[in-house]
């Protein structure tokens, strides 16, 4: 917020200096750039501090002794790290099981989406069949339907299938993906047609063309779908809250919220240790897959 006011402030300053082009050009070279740059860098620094501050506070507070974790002044840098909270969080909740559940759910959804979206995206991009346009519009239309609208019937469907309170209840409904299909279609449309023509001249049928020409080239597109699925479902809260009942089927976010409910404000570093642990996979994705994730997230907006 403060960054915003600062920003518009510098804009107004620069606007008022524009008298005639000549004076303006002079002021641009001497006076204004310095003031503008200072304002710009201050605003960016404040925004960066406000973004990273809470994460640093969480990290360093998780490294304080549980009994002192809520003492003031707060700590923003872990100077004397104390790992008691990390030992304690393993005693309070079954971290291993939560991680395993989250990994299973997220991993299988990601794999399922990568496979189904690749096949469907390929069909929409490179195969010919009747009603292609209409079916594709129908698939895209499902993106408009919020998960909250379908959750009640899905909950009943899951019960009817005898999958209540199982991990499959979380996995199966999340596999069909409109956005993933859309991404893979775009991806296959972006690949050159020459390969298919050459293979067809060699007598390859539609399946061979897919299997030996386009499928091997699909990996980068599939990576985008997989990493998006991972980022979304690893952090997902609403569906697990509704579709799992017993603690043995909880995923990480659900387990942590339960832990916060149990511990309250007693020893917050224990809860925060859990939060930090749950962030680690996201951090790995962030470090190694940031570019892929960025491409995937912004892909929907470009066209």
């Amino acid at each position: 917020m403060s960054s915003q006011t600062l920003h518009t402030g510098t804009d107004k300053d620069s606007g008022s200096t524009t008298g005639t082009p000549a004076t303006h050009r002079r002021s641009r070279r001497r006076g204004r750039p310095a003031a503008g740059t200072v304002g710009r860098y201050t605003a960016l620094a404040v925004a960066a501090a406000l973004t990273l501050g809470p994460v640093l506070w969480t990290l360093s507070t998780s490294l304080r002794a549980p009994s002192e974790s809520f003492n003031l002044p707060p700590s923003f840098l872990p100077i004397n790290p104390d790992f008691t909270a990390y030992q304690e969080v393993f005693r309070q909740i079954n971290v291993g099981l939560l991680v395993l559940n989250s990994a299973l759910v997220t991993g299988l959804i990601a794999l399922g989406q990568m496979a189904s979206a690749t096949l469907a995206g390929y069909a929409f991009a490179r195969l010919d069949f009747r009603g292609k346009k209409a079916i594709f519009s129908l698939v895209l239309a499902t993106m408009m339907v919020p998960v909250q609208v379908t959750i009640v019937p899905v909950f009943m469907l899951i019960r009817g299938m005898g999958l209540s309170d199982t991990l499959l209840a979380l996995i199966l409904p999340a596999i069909p993906t409109a956005f993933g299909t859309f991404l893979m279609r775009q991806y296959f449309l972006g690949l050159p047609n020459d390969f298919a023509e050459a293979a067809a001249l060699d007598g390859a049928g539609p399946w061979r063309i897919f299997r030996s020409v386009y499928a091997p080239l699909a990996v980068p597109g599939m990576a985008i779908v997989g990493i998006l699925a991972f980022n979304f479902h690893w952090n997902e809260f609403f569906r697990p809250l509704i579709l799992t009942i017993s603690e043995q089927n909880f995923t990480l976010p659900l387990g942590l919220v339960t832990l916060q409910g149990n511990l309250g404000t007693g020893s917050i570093s224990v809860v925060l240790a859990g939060v930090i642990l749950s962030m680690l996979p996201a951090l790995v994705v962030f470090i190694f897959g940031q570019r892929t994730l960025r491409e995937g997230l912004t892909a929907g907006a470009s066209k």
Partner: protein
């Protein structure tokens, strides 16, 4: 593809016809997992919701047809009404903040700057997007604690008395907005950054020569050029803000009173706590209509206001 392959008609017709037959079958097989899955987990549930909205059903006893009673209760039930008003207020404030901050920061990243700094800032603003909203709400709830929270401690340094962040209606609604925007501005930021980077440099140089700088250049040159992105970013931000749940659920659980109760929170409560599945479906449908209306508005607006090159 097939139209070109069927062109030499006399000689190549039999293999081409066979090919298109195989292709149709292959397409059906390829589409089957996605389409069957959607039929089962999206289309069937939508129909289910449409039907359920006209029934009273608690899962245990037999469903009872109640006509439009569930929709009428939306207008009459004060909690539901307040939750929709809260949601709309939330959307307006959160989306304006999110887009304003994102656009401000993205334009400040333009211009001369060491490239390591640009990469660092881009990563920083993007980072909250990879965290879970539930985890973020967990630590933010501690940060906004009235007595021991770091936010009030920082405010006390500049002489501001402790704010009851999570126990006063206005303050708690503010916290939900701030926590939501903190986590989501990075998405709009990425969209704006992409759009701004795509503006040809010559246009800015030409504007500079014409004496249009700063705000003038921004509003007359930059903004029209990125208007398609502004529209898309607004619509995406509105749609996702309409569905806010994790933050109010974890931070305040809708309270104090109903001050942070949102539409989705009420869907959750009426379905899975009060077992009013019909009412929950009706609220869900109204929310969907709102989302569809926003999308439809996008298309209308984009024809009128957006400047396409």
């Amino acid at each position: 593809m097939t139209t070109t392959s069927t062109a030499p008609r006399q000689t190549a017709k039999p293999p081409a016809a066979r090919r298109s037959f195989v292709e149709r079958w292959l397409a059906m097989i390829f589409l089957a997992p996605t389409l069957l899955g959607m039929a089962l987990f999206t289309f069937l549930p939508i129909i289910g919701s449409l039907v359920l909205a006209f029934f009273r059903w608690d899962i245990i006893s037999a469903p009872q047809f109640v006509g439009f009673a569930n929709f009428a209760s939306l207008a009459e039930d004060p909690t539901v009404r307040v939750s929709f008003l809260n949601t709309i207020m939330f959307v307006i404030v959160a989306v304006i903040l999110q887009l304003g901050i994102a656009l401000g920061l993205a334009s400040m990243l333009q211009g001369r700057m060491p490239s390591w700094l640009r990469v660092f800032l881009r990563s920083t603003f993007f980072f909250p997007l990879v965290l879970s909203a539930a985890s973020v709400s967990i630590f933010m709830r501690y940060m906004f604690n009235e007595q021991f929270g770091v936010v009030n401690w920082l405010l006390s340094l500049i002489g501001i008395p402790a704010v009851p962040w999570l126990t006063s209606p206005v303050a708690s609604a503010t916290v939900v907005v701030l926590v939501y925007v903190w986590q989501n501005f990075g998405f709009s930021f990425l969209l704006f950054l992409g759009a701004l980077t795509n503006i040809p440099k010559e246009l800015h140089e030409a504007a500079n020569l014409d004496g249009a700088t700063g705000w003038k250049q921004f509003s007359n040159v930059t903004l029209p050029l990125i208007s398609p992105t502004v529209l898309v970013a607004s619509v995406m931000a509105i749609i996702s803000a309409l569905q806010v749940f994790d933050q109010p659920y974890v931070l305040t659980n809708g309270g104090p009173g109903d001050s942070t109760r949102t539409a989705v929170l009420v869907i959750f409560e009426s379905a899975f706590q009060q077992l009013e599945f019909g009412e929950a479906s009706a609220i869900g449908l109204v929310l969907t209509v709102l989302i569809l209306a926003v999308t439809a508005l996008q298309f209308r607006l984009s024809r009128r206001f957006v400047f396409y090159q």
